[in-house]
């Protein structure tokens, strides 16, 4: 499979702060590449470097087999992006915004093309409404249309579900999957929510403090054997004592709250044992947040790098 995007030893320093530190990764054709990291981890800076908005302090970026630094215009003609919030010209209509950005992408723009794109994101009926009257979800959809109007081969989406309601998040997820499966697009999507990336990405990169922690296939990374389970009981202190005396003692992560790192398949057994130990269980929740995932990596292995390829 062809490599669409390759990043080699990329770094960015802002005075004393190193936002991105020696980052390398590759994205193959047709990938939905999840770019995960907590807020401030360096995701947005990396994405801005991919779009030539921020100049790297060191390293190389090759897109479609060409250097971004020497073939910028050619590469950007075939790249679409939504960068954080979908900020558009509020005093212009949806149609006008899309028309302007399509023109800037260097394609032949027709009314039919613009209307088709607006139709695709469900905004055809609001084509002539000013963007200032749009909800966050509508702006996000228009932002997607702007990113796709010139039919790019590579789509870069930076936190595309930020500020969306649950329906908006689901719509965005479906759109990304459709673009990948039906239109064969290569997509780089960043998020700080593991649960989101888990569903859509086939390959994942996790960064923290600007450094790569882990890169690999989603199925390998989200090993069900390392699911963090959080338990709430009527009496946590007593429950923790009982668990320490049980076969589950080796899986306990914390001394204050009840959390265990276990195989996801073992959750029914754990539930049965908790009941057998007469622990008043209020909830058993498998955790999916990135923070907990980091914690599970750290606690299981002693250091996060243990998952590196």
């Amino acid at each position: 499979m062809a490599v669409i995007l390759s990043v080699n030893h990329l770094s960015k320093r802002f005075k004393d702060i190193t936002a991105v530190d020696d980052l390398s990764f590759t994205v193959n054709e047709g990938d939905v590449y999840g770019f995960l990291g907590q807020n401030g981890s360096g995701k947005s800076t990396t994405i801005r470097m991919l779009l030539s908005l921020v100049k790297p302090s060191a390293g190389e970026i090759n897109i479609f087999g060409k250097s971004l630094f020497t073939h910028r215009s050619e590469i950007l003609k075939n790249t679409g992006a939504v960068i954080e919030k979908p900020d558009l010209y509020k005093y212009l209509s949806a149609y006008q915004n899309l028309y302007l950005f399509a023109k800037m992408s260097g394609i032949k723009v027709t009314r039919q093309l613009i209307m088709e794109q607006l139709e695709m994101v469900g905004l055809a009926e609001r084509a002539n409404s000013k963007v200032k009257t749009f909800s966050q979800g509508m702006k996000q959809r228009l932002g997607i249309a702007v990113a796709l109007v010139h039919n790019p081969g590579l789509i870069i989406l930076d936190e595309p579900t930020n500020g969306l309601d649950p329906q908006g998040i689901a719509d965005m997820r479906n759109l990304i999957l459709q673009l990948s499966k039906k239109r064969g697009k290569t997509i780089v999507v960043s998020s700080h929510l593991l649960s989101e990336i888990e569903i859509i990405a086939n390959r994942i990169l996790i960064i923290n403090n600007g450094k790569k922690i882990v890169e690999g296939n989603a199925t390998e990374l989200f090993d069900p054997a390392k699911t963090l389970v959080k338990i709430t009981t009527g009496n946590d202190i007593e429950a923790l004592e009982k668990l320490r005396k049980s076969p589950w003692k080796d899986f306990i992560n914390s001394n204050e709250t009840i959390s265990l790192t276990i195989n996801k398949n073992k959750i029914p057994n754990l539930t049965a044992d908790l009941i057998a130990m007469e622990i008043p269980v209020l909830s058993i929740v498998p955790q999916h947040s990135l923070e907990n995932y980091f914690l599970s990596l750290t606690n299981q292995t002693g250091h996060v790098a243990a998952f590196s390829n």
């Binding site: 908005l53 992006a81 006008q96 800037m104």
Partner: protein, 293 residues
């Protein structure tokens, strides 16, 4: 580049703020015209000052469209930079604060093209604004007040320009004003590339123009010798030079002449140099800028 220019022009003329400038200018000019229509004699009498004591002034012929336009330009052109800054100061920083700059800069157009397109669009805005000023202040004044010889005062001199010798001077004056306003636009553009909020560059541009104008006008020898030649504002009122007509040996004005053409040309040269300097600096800064907004 042409396409980018068209897009920038479209954006400028879609902003309500753009029309605010036209509304302010129209209202201001109308007020002056109305005032001069009602109390023109008193106004020009005040302007002429002691001249009233030494010669018999025919106010009926003095108050004509050309004179009214000259009075308007004297009052207005000092303030037009504020209206220019309102649009040009916002042109990059406004996009940064709105969040559209990152979308724009991620498109397959070079940053140099973006800056040049934005500056060219500002230039077109200024040109249209000056044409509007010319229409309302000159042509409407000619309609309301008629045409006659234009009397100009320079310190203690009085110069009469024949009515047939005036119009080309106005064309040149408006052309000069266009270049002068381009300097303000270029300065506002430069400040706009340094900022990520809309208001800062507008206020800074207006502030710089006001301070430099004050320093240019101060009759302090050390300022006049060492600072004034380097301030762009020192050259911005050079448009008046087109109305300072030459005299012959018989003390008669020479039709088609300009008293000090080299000084006018020097002012134009200085202003063009400032435009090149400010636009070049804008391009260099914008090309190096990390877009984090």
């Amino acid at each position: 580049m042409w396409q980018l220019f068209q897009i920038e022009v479209f954006k400028i003329f879609r902003k309500p703020r753009t029309y605010l400038a036209f509304a302010i200018i129209t209202g201001f000019i109308f007020l002056i015209q109305l005032g001069l229509l009602l109390n023109g004699k008193e106004f020009f009498s005040f302007v002429l000052g002691s001249v009233n004591d030494t010669m018999d002034v025919d106010y009926k012929s003095l108050i004509n469209g050309y004179a009214v336009c000259f009075a308007i330009l004297n009052l207005l052109l000092v303030h037009v930079p504020i209206l220019v800054a309102l649009v040009a100061g916002d042109i990059v920083s406004g996009e940064a604060s709105m969040g559209t700059l990152r979308l724009l800069a991620a498109k397959p157009v070079s940053r140099t093209q973006i800056i040049l397109a934005k500056f060219s669009a500002s230039a077109l805005y200024i040109l249209i604004m000056l044409i509007w000023i010319a229409f309302t202040s000159l042509f409407l004044s000619l309609v309301f007040f008629g045409s006659d010889n234009l009397m100009i005062t320079k310190v203690t001199d009085i110069r009469i320009i024949e009515s047939g010798d005036v119009m080309w001077r106005y064309y040149c004056a408006f052309g000069f004003a266009f270049i002068a306003m381009l300097v303000v636009a270029a300065l506002a553009l430069l400040l706009s590339t340094l900022s990520e909020n809309s208001i800062g560059p507008i206020v800074a541009t207006v502030g710089i123009v006001i301070i430099c104008t004050l320093i240019s006008e101060m009759e302090i020898p050390i300022y006049q010798k060492y600072i004034r030649p380097y301030l762009f504002t020192s050259y911005m009122l050079g448009w008046k030079g087109f109305f300072y007509i030459n005299f012959n040996d018989d003390n008669q004005t020479i039709k088609g002449s300009i008293e000090n053409l080299p000084a006018v040309l020097k002012s134009i040269g200085a202003l063009v140099s400032y435009i090149v300097l400010f636009v070049t600096a804008s391009v260099v800064i914008f090309k190096r800028k990390d877009i984090l907004s």
